[in-house]
């Protein structure tokens, strides 16, 4: 009955997978950082910089608004992370296990698959002076018959960016919190605190959160790193004069005068400093909060405005979901609006003309985007599964170098990607699809690894032992037992990887040198323009592609396990 097994899984080559994985995670980040550190101090022989100096920093300091840019990045990044964290925690504290909870929980996956750029564009469509919200309230409530002269988005203080980032990060933090809650005995502890007379929220904050927090700490750090250095969301929602530091950096990097590269490198190091400061401030906050919580726990007060706090959590998370959702709906409306006079709540007439006009170019862009996403996801899956299987056969728990998984997520993208671009240029590599694929992998691999690790560890090893006792080889166990039983989490991880690749902006922009056009780069590029309808079409396409991936991930395992009820039930 022996069937041919693919050879790779049984060969010693399996040991190469973890090495490749670690190299892929660490090498681009470290090389990229070197690629900005050296030019920042004046050393870049390709551009004639052969002496170390602080000139680039001096020049950067002379730039008007650079200090304000740095402060804006710090403020919007930290503020959005704090807001998203507080809303998430209060909501989970107040509603875990209730019906409201399961309703909102169902929204997490679709919201999570939504690319940052599409979310930002949708929000801009919703709240801009001529946006849907003001139209719905005009003229009956506001009295406006023309778009008001208000700076709602792109406000100089970065408020729109801060709120937009917070709304987009809530689903991610929620997912991480729920995963951590599922791992530890949160429910039992909640019963103890309630039986001791504690309200839901106070009990959660004082007894459950202290143990939960260490598990969601790295995801929070990743959120802070992203939020302090985002480019795509800041381009759409952020302030313009001056912009946030990351946007200022991208502008410097695109300067036709190559000498400005030295300054851009210095700005990249400054960005690194801003993100590091944000993390340091957060850690100080952690200490203070932990001390306050320990003190409060010793006082024995049972209720700290529990109802108000729970309501705030519900309002925060509900508002985030509603805003992002309504933004998507307004994208849909604009994409088919033929004529839409200002105060009207709905388009005067609709047509699919814009869609058909945009179609030829759209199809090509979807093709490039999907091909990049599929390729990077496939490579990431092979690498991660191979590394997990290699660890399994060595008998070790978890991935080797698991700590490195977060590295590309904790270092600001813009800092090391720019350095990588400088290195590629210096090495004479032409920007194009191959470097873009590599740059996507740097971000796809960590997310695929993060979503596969838990289910892989939770897999009941007795199945594998039972198969081994029946004489099955390790390769056969992997292909015939483990992989089919983990079909569902593998499909989910693939959908996550696909969505990450579709959504990334900077890797495509910097590694592609402007020659590789994806839905995301196109949508962000068009966000600055005046053609709302075509922009809406691209933002929608950017939303639908990863969503289709999640739908496929939900359906495929059912086909694989047709007719077997229990199989595929491994999470």
């Amino acid at each position: 009955m022996a069937r041919a097994e693919p050879a790779a899984a049984g060969s010693p080559a399996l040991g190469l997978f973890p090495v490749a994985l670690i190299a892929l995670l660490a090498a681009p980040v470290l090389a990229g950082l070197a690629g900005v550190a050296l030019p920042a101090f004046g050393w870049l022989p390709a551009l004639g910089g052969e002496r170390l100096s602080l000139g680039a920093f001096a020049a950067l300091a002379e730039r008007p608004g650079i200090a304000r840019s740095a402060l804006l990045s710090l403020w919007t990044g930290l503020g959005s992370a704090l807001l998203a964290f507080v809303a998430t925690v209060l909501f989970v504290a107040g509603f875990a296990g209730t019906r409201t909870f399961s309703v909102l929980r169902g929204l997490i996956s679709p919201l999570l698959s939504l690319p940052h750029a599409a979310a930002a564009i949708g929000l801009a469509f919703l709240v801009s002076p001529s946006g849907w919200l003001i139209r719905l309230a005009s003229p009956w409530a506001t009295g406006w018959t023309r778009p008001p002269d208000l700076l709602v988005i792109n406000d100089p203080a970065g408020t729109a960016l801060l709120l937009g980032l917070a709304a987009k990060e809530v689903p991610f933090l929620m997912l991480m919190t729920l995963a951590a809650l599922g791992r530890g005995g949160g429910a039992a502890t909640a019963m103890v605190t309630a039986s001791l007379g504690y309200g839901r929220v106070t009990g959660f904050l004082l007894a459950v959160l202290p143990r939960l927090y260490p598990q969601i700490r790295l995801p929070i750090f990743a959120v802070i790193a992203y939020a302090t250095s985002t480019v795509d969301m800041a381009l759409v929602l952020g302030p313009t004069t001056p912009p946030t530091l990351a946007v200022a950096l991208v502008r410097l990097a695109a300067d036709p005068d190559l000498a400005v590269r030295f300054e851009a490198s210095a700005a990249a190091l400054l960005q690194l400093g801003v993100t590091a400061s944000a993390l340091a401030i957060w850690m100080l906050g952690e200490r203070a909060a932990a001390m306050l919580a320990r003190r409060a726990a010793r006082r024995g007060r049972r209720d700290h405005f529990d109802n108000a706090l729970a309501a705030a959590g519900l309002a925060g998370t509900g508002l985030a979901a509603a805003a992002v959702g309504a933004g998507l709906v307004s994208l849909g409306l604009w994409s088919v609006a033929e004529q839409w006079r200002f105060p009207a709540g709905l388009p005067d007439s609709v047509s699919l003309e814009r869609w058909s006009a945009a179609l030829p170019e759209l199809v090509a862009t979807v093709g490039t985007t999907a091909a990049l996403a599929a390729a990077s996801t496939a490579i990431a899956l092979v690498l991660v599964l191979g590394s997990l299987e290699a660890a399994e056969r060595r008998g070790s728990k978890g991935l080797a170098g698991a700590g490195l998984i977060y590295l590309p997520l904790l270092v600001p993208q813009v800092a090391f990607l720019f350095g990588l671009q400088v290195l590629l240029l210096a090495a004479g590599v032409t920007p194009g699809l191959a470097p873009v694929l590599l740059a996507h992998l740097v971000f796809v691999v960590p997310y695929v690894a993060l979503s596969l690790e838990d289910p892989w560890q939770a897999f009941d090893r007795r199945y594998a032992r039972a198969a081994a006792a029946l004489g099955a080889s390790p390769a056969r166990i992997f292909w015939r037992i483990r992989l089919p039983l983990l079909a569902r989490p593998v499909a989910t991880a693939a959908a996550v990887g696909f969505a990450v690749s579709v959504g990334v902006y900077l890797p495509t922009l910097l590694a592609g040198g402007g020659r590789v056009v994806t839905l995301t780069t196109e949508a962000v590029a068009r966000a600055g323009g005046s053609d709302r309808r075509t922009l809406a079409i691209y933002a929608l396409a950017q939303t639908l592609l990863p969503f289709a991936g999640f739908v496929a991930a939900a359906l495929l395992p059912r086909l694989v396990h047709r007719g077997q009820r229990a199989a595929g039930g491994v999470r």
Binding site: R99, G185, A188, T189, M191, V192, T193, A194, S195, L196, G197, Y198, G199, R200, G203, L206, A207, P210, R211, R294, A297, R298, R299, G300, R301, R302
Partner: protein, 216 residues
């Protein structure tokens, strides 16, 4: 807060799931006595306890009342019922020291750092753990942890105790000792105790009536 000990009454309790009757219970537990609910796994023992404590999963439907003295607990939220709950696991909070665990449970009505601390020290003394306040729960033995968990439950001044197989994780040698301590303290404080178990020895040690749940 009444000074009088109260009787815990289950009146016409019936728990159903999807129209199917899971269990019925109709009995009273007098102050200072322990009633044992026995039944094989799957008979709904823990479901009954969850209902009493206010944690019944929404998948279940329950009718009937739970009374404590003159109060009807049935519609109260869990945190207002003041029922002391103990599980198989001691569930001591690992991020707080032993005193922190007890201070968390001590009612806020006891004010002032010194007064709170001396109440906690007295409670520890009651179970032979003088001077253990600053210890990390992780450094305690199983028997010590069980005693801290008991005092954490009692220091909150519950009006009744609900025990969900609380001795099943303890070593044989410790079991009897902890069991006697729990029932002794409950008797001394005139608390009604409802014990859920599948262990005959536990039921015998409880000394009170035994209610059997059949899987229905």
């Amino acid at each position: 807060m009444s000074g009088q000990p109260d009787c815990l009454r289950l009146e016409g309790v019936r728990i159903t799931r999807g129209g199917e009757v899971l269990l019925g219970a109709d009995f009273a537990v007098a102050p200072g006595t322990a009633t044992t609910v026995m039944g094989p796994s799957g008979s709904g023992k823990s479901t009954l306890l969850a209902f009493l404590a206010g944690f019944l999963d929404p998948a279940f439907m329950a009718e009937g009342r739970v009374r404590l003295g003159d109060d009807d607990l049935t519609r109260l939220p869990p945190q207002a019922r003041r029922l002391g709950l103990m599980f198989q696991d001691d569930l001591l909070f690992p991020h707080l020291d032993v005193a922190g665990n007890l201070l968390f449970a001590l009612p806020a009505a006891v004010r002032g750092r010194a007064a709170r601390r001396s109440a906690v020290d007295a409670a520890l003394g009651e179970v032979g753990l003088e001077g253990f306040g600053d210890r990390d729960p992780a450094t305690l033995s199983g028997g010590q942890r069980a005693r801290v968990a008991l005092m954490r439950t009692l220091i909150a001044r519950p009006r009744a105790l609900l025990l969900d197989e609380p001795f099943s994780r303890l070593d044989r040698s410790l079991r009897g000792q902890v069991r006697d301590l729990v029932f002794g303290v409950a008797r001394a404080r005139r608390l009604p105790v409802l014990l859920v178990t599948h262990d005959e020895e536990d039921a015998a040690a409880a000394g009170g009536p035994v209610v059997s749940l059949r899987a229905m």
